[in-house]
């Protein structure tokens, strides 16, 4: 698969990363290499093979609906780059857009 600049821009946007100039060229080459490498897998004939999603046979790993004391308010906010006494603070985002 060919990775062009448009694909790089799209993936970069989804990952909230910015590339320009040399950096963009480099990541484009890297991505193309990765995709080509992964393409190797499609050479295997998988007709009639069910997709494998889970590595174990376990099902219904569940817990009861019982609350357990977890983090304190102070612990929760401790590692935030910016905070006040109540909230995590982040640079202003205006519109949530469409989720």
């Amino acid at each position: 698969m060919h990775i062009d600049e448009k694909v790089v821009d799209h993936i970069a946007h989804l990952a909230r990363l910015e590339f320009s100039g040399e950096g963009k060229k480099a990541i484009q080459i890297d991505m193309e290499r990765i995709i080509t490498f992964m393409d190797k897998l499609s050479e295997v004939d998988t007709t009639g093979v069910e997709p494998l999603i889970f590595m174990s046979d376990e099902v219904n790993v569940l817990r009861e609906d019982i609350a357990v004391d977890s983090l304190t308010h102070e612990e929760a906010l401790k590692n935030a780059p910016k905070r006040d006494s109540d909230y995590f603070r982040i640079p202003k985002v205006l519109s949530k857009g469409n989720f």
Partner: protein
């Protein structure tokens, strides 16, 4: 405009998100509770700390199955979860754990009233389990957005309808029905103002007779059922205007501004979202078998639709009474309890919808806080039916007194109030005699042909007897005597 409007058919599908009434979150055991101090109901899982793993809350599956059964849906036996990837500050993991390919419920329907008051089925496409995001507050601080992650990981049920809804009123009725259902099932408190029940609407219009759908617009931010209706109504008018003016409706997401009563474009869908769904490897698959579904089914409470049909078809109550009784789960439960102690269904319904409801309205309390027990109301109903008190005396005199004489039986209270109905033939004959003697003018006019005066004379009789004469006996006796005079 009305004629223009009739040329178009409106097509609406609704997505309802219901926050589940669980004690803990969907995939972690921190507390699920509305209104707590910001960032106190959190855990390393809901904060998305690296290396933490989700564990599924058993209760959420039961809730989803209950709702699916109530909607006549198919329950999927094999399920797995998916990651829906997007970046937003109130989603710390960078993805939402949801069900994509294998929703727990598919198909089914809800019965909803259309604009003419007829019942119709609105199809359910799917119901799936997922988690809520945290809350971003944009309008408090000038420079920063504030993030509260108490809501992150709260379990949600997303209920997606088929595009079967044809008007804003039907949409209103549908959401009201969903809310009633989740409240009956005790799986969500249905509070739209607090956001525990949320609704997005997909709306399009097409010329009547067209097979293809028009371009749909998604409308969000409607925080009451009334606003769902207002937003849709605005949107229908807007879209028809666009089409009538030769334009094309653009596919987009719009938000509802409740103050202005209008929808505003939020973001065009042209740059379509790319959520890159893939199976969630951290949660093992679910397997639901028939015995488990049966057990949940056996444990389900009576549902509003079933009660409605029982009240109208079996009990012969009017549609109006039945609708009002089942509208609130606790009123219906109270009514059911009253019926354990009396067979007089109609009188019980009247008393409940009349006096009891107006008491609740006046005191602004819920039926769950109503001081009189169902058996007391049943006693009053039985007293009316035994002819001991008239309905009007029961409601105007005995009922209010029951709140004061809490240690007395209803019969004792009626006796203390001296309102036990007089059914004694001799004393009724005596009242009739008094009325005829003291209203000679009216009696003569009656005899002369003004038959409607019997109402007046009957009123006089009730007055003379201080409301105690049994009208069922007094009325025929009065008529008989009057007619003998004629």
């Amino acid at each position: 405009m009305e004629n223009t409007r009739e040329k178009y058919e409106v097509v609406i599908g609704l997505e309802v998100h219901a926050q589940m009434l669980t004690k803990t979150k969907a995939y972690s055991n921190d507390v699920n509770e509305f209104g707590a101090h910001p960032n106190t109901n959190v855990s390393v899982v809901s904060l998305g700390h690296p290396g933490t793993l989700p564990v599924m809350n058993k209760k959420t599956i039961e809730n989803a199955i209950k709702l699916g059964l109530a909607c006549h849906s198919n329950i999927a036996s094999n399920q797995y979860f998916a990651r829906k990837n997007y970046f937003y500050p109130d989603l710390p993991k960078g993805y939402q754990i949801t069900q994509d390919k294998t929703p727990i419920c598919t198909g089914g329907h809800l019965v909803v009233k259309d604009d003419l008051g007829n019942y119709k089925n609105v199809g359910i496409t799917r119901i799936h389990m997922e988690e809520d995001a945290g809350k971003s507050i944009h309008d408090v601080d000038v420079y920063d957005t504030l993030v509260d992650l108490n809501r992150a990981g709260v379990p949600l049920l997303e209920i997606v309808s088929e595009p079967d809804i044809r008007s804003s009123q039907e949409a209103y009725n549908y959401v009201a029905e969903v809310r009633k259902l989740v409240r009956y099932l005790d799986i969500c408190d249905g509070n739209m103002e607090e956001g525990s029940l949320r609704c997005d609407a997909n709306i399009s219009v097409r010329l009547v007779g067209t097979i293809e759908f028009g371009t749909k617009v998604e409308v969000k931010n409607m925080n009451s059922i009334r606003n769902v209706q207002r937003a849709i109504e605005f949107e229908i008018t807007r879209q028809i205007e666009v089409v009538e003016n030769g334009g094309e409706v653009s596919q987009e997401t719009r938000g509802f501004d409740a103050l202005k009563g209008i929808t505003i474009s939020m973001r065009s869908k042209e740059a379509a979202n790319d959520y890159r769904y893939f199976p969630e490897p951290d949660l093992q698959p679910l397997f639901v078998d028939q015995p488990q579904i049966d057990a949940i089914k056996n444990d389900m409470p009576a549902l509003p639709r079933e009660l409605y049909l029982k009240y109208t078809e079996e009990f012969g109550l009017s549609e109006y009474d039945a609708t009002n009784l089942v509208d609130n789960k606790y009123i219906a439960l109270y009514f059911e309890d009253v019926l354990l102690h009396t067979k007089q269904i109609k009188t019980a319904a009247n008393l409940l919808m009349g006096e009891v409801k107006s008491y609740l309205n006046q005191q602004a309390v819920e039926i769950t806080e109503f001081p009189l027990k169902p058996n007391v109301i049943a006693e009053l109903v039985n007293l009316i039916e035994a002819g001991k008190v008239s309905y009007s005396i029961a409601s105007s005199k005995v009922f209010p007194a029951l709140f004061e004489f809490t240690d007395k039986s209803v019969l004792e209270v009626a006796t203390i109030l001296n309102v036990i109905q007089d059914s004694d033939e001799d004393s009724i004959a005596n009242y009739v005699k008094q009325v005829i003697e003291s209203n000679t003018t009216e009696v003569q006019r009656y005899v002369a042909g003004e038959k409607q005066l019997v109402g007046f004379l009957m009123g006089q009789l009730m007055k003379v007897s201080q409301g105690k004469a049994d009208p069922k006996q007094a009325n025929p006796m009065l008529r008989k005597i009057l007619d003998e005079l004629s």
